[in-house]
């Protein structure tokens, strides 16, 4: 619905403008590093690189391989906390 999409756009804009988006990003990055998600994915990257060859690996190769795994591997606690913060923001700022 266009209204929804308008709403969404507005909220996203607000998120960015208020700096909340950046804050959430940093929070997520820190949490993922802390829980070892990053190192796990790096190991996966190594496998991909060895598979594809050091010289010829492209960003696309990595992205395609890594992103779905990454999404799955995020721990539940981190996910919950982030969602909570987002909801709080929406509750506060959604008109």
């Amino acid at each position: 619905m266009s209204k929804d999409s308008k709403m969404r756009a507005t909220i996203n804009q607000k998120l960015t403008e208020m700096g909340e988006r950046e804050r959430l990003k940093e929070l997520l990055r820190a949490k993922l590093t802390e829980c070892g998600w990053r190192d796990q994915l790096k190991a996966n990257c190594k496998d991909v690189i060895k598979e594809k060859g050091l010289e010829h690996v492209t960003v696309e190769d990595l992205v395609v391989e890594i992103t779905p795994k990454g999404r799955v591997l995020v721990p539940d606690s981190v996910k919950k906390e982030l969602l909570q913060r987002i909801r709080a923001f929406l509750a506060q700022h959604a008109t």
């Binding site: 969404r8 988006r21 990003k25 790096k42 990595l62 999404r71 982030l82």
Partner: protein, 347 residues
């Protein structure tokens, strides 16, 4: 109402939730992409595999999990059974004890009592010049890495204190010697260990105790050689002594100090009171020399007689006994008992 609110808001919870989920997944994807870019850059720049060790080295340092060996593959008690032969004494020594043994054996370590051995050796042999030179070198080694040690080493022997107790020990083992008993120091202790009042005759005792304190310490078993100083209080009282008291004291000196203290004591004290009643107090200063030195001598005699029983307690109480005796003269009505009181304490 809620529905109205929601409609007014234009969003419902499900939509909000969906929105939240979308935002979340965007964030996660951002992180993943960030990681991918990082890794790709590292690969292209050539530093991605830098922190890894190559396989060969990995095998070298692999953790070992065998029995009898630590994780590095080293054996713990590898040198336990091995024995070395000492070149000096030709004994076979265990490897772990070899170094300390060499230290002692060659006389070169810090704790090898090299100086003591050297002294023994030099006292046995005639003093050669070459020998003393070598010994000085040893002294240089003794001080850890200091260049000024040579001066210190040569000074050492002359530093022996001529007045140290060890040196004078041999001089002072004289029992009952009176020549060295008169000391300038009033509080210096005699080194006589064997002084025994029972063995000395009355004359010796008299002369000894008139000049010195004579109290035998309980702890060191030594006779106090403190020269009796004229004490103002005791001097006055000492004037009251006469020959009879001197006799009483002398009898006490010869008395053995057996366990039956009180009966004999009361007898002697009764004797003394009888004597004192019969004879008038004469203010003499001569009588047996118990005059100005009476304070010291009398207390000395009291101490001497109680030497068999308990010397240290006797020392202080003898003074009081002296005063008690004197008081008896001045105040004849005062009952006898102060003398027995010493012995009561002992009992």
């Amino acid at each position: 109402m809620k529905m109205e609110d929601m409609s007014l808001l234009g969003l419902d919870n499900t939509k909000l939730e969906a929105l939240a989920q979308d935002i979340y997944s965007d964030l996660v994807e951002d992180s993943c992409l960030g990681l991918c870019f990082e890794v790709h850059r590292a690969v292209k720049q050539g530093y991605f595999f830098l922190d890894d060790t190559d396989q060969e080295s990995m095998k070298d340092f692999e953790i070992v999990d065998q029995p009898g060996v630590d994780i590095f593959g080293q054996v713990y008690n590898q040198w336990k059974n091995k024995e070395c032969v000492c070149p000096n004494c030709n004994r076979s020594i265990a490897a772990s004890r070899f170094a300390p043994h060499l230290e002692k054996c060659l006389g070169m370590g810090r704790n090898s009592s090299r100086i003591a051995n050297r002294r023994i050796a030099s006292s046995n042999n005639v003093n050669n010049k070459s020998e003393s030179d070598q010994e000085d070198n040893d002294d240089v080694n003794d001080n850890d890495w200091s260049y000024g040690s040579e001066k210190k080493a040569k000074k050492r022997k002359s530093d022996k204190n001529p007045n140290s107790p060890r040196r004078s020990k041999s001089l002072k083992h004289k029992n009952g010697e009176l020549s060295n008993s008169v000391n300038a120091d009033p509080y210096k202790y005699n080194y006589n260990t064997g002084i025994n009042y029972e063995t000395l005759g009355p004359d010796e005792l008299r002369s000894l105790l008139t000049t010195q304190c004579g109290v035998i310490s309980e702890h060191t078993k030594k006779m106090c050689t403190r020269s009796s100083l004229p004490d103002a209080d005791t001097m006055v009282e000492s004037d009251c002594y006469d020959a009879s008291d001197g006799q009483v004291l002398m009898s006490r000196l010869q008395w053995d100090g057996s366990s039956d203290i009180s009966p004999s004591d009361s007898a002697s004290s009764k004797a003394s009171t009888n004597n004192s009643d019969s004879k008038k107090p004469k203010k003499k200063k001569t009588s047996l020399g118990l005059n100005s030195t009476g304070g010291g001598g009398g207390s000395g005699s009291g101490g001497g007689s109680t030497g068999g029983g308990g010397g240290s307690g006797g020392g202080s109480s003898s003074q009081s006994s002296l005063v008690g005796l004197a008081n008896r003269k001045k105040k004849p009505k005062l009952p006898v008992p102060p003398a027995p009181s010493i012995y009561d304490n002992l009992n």
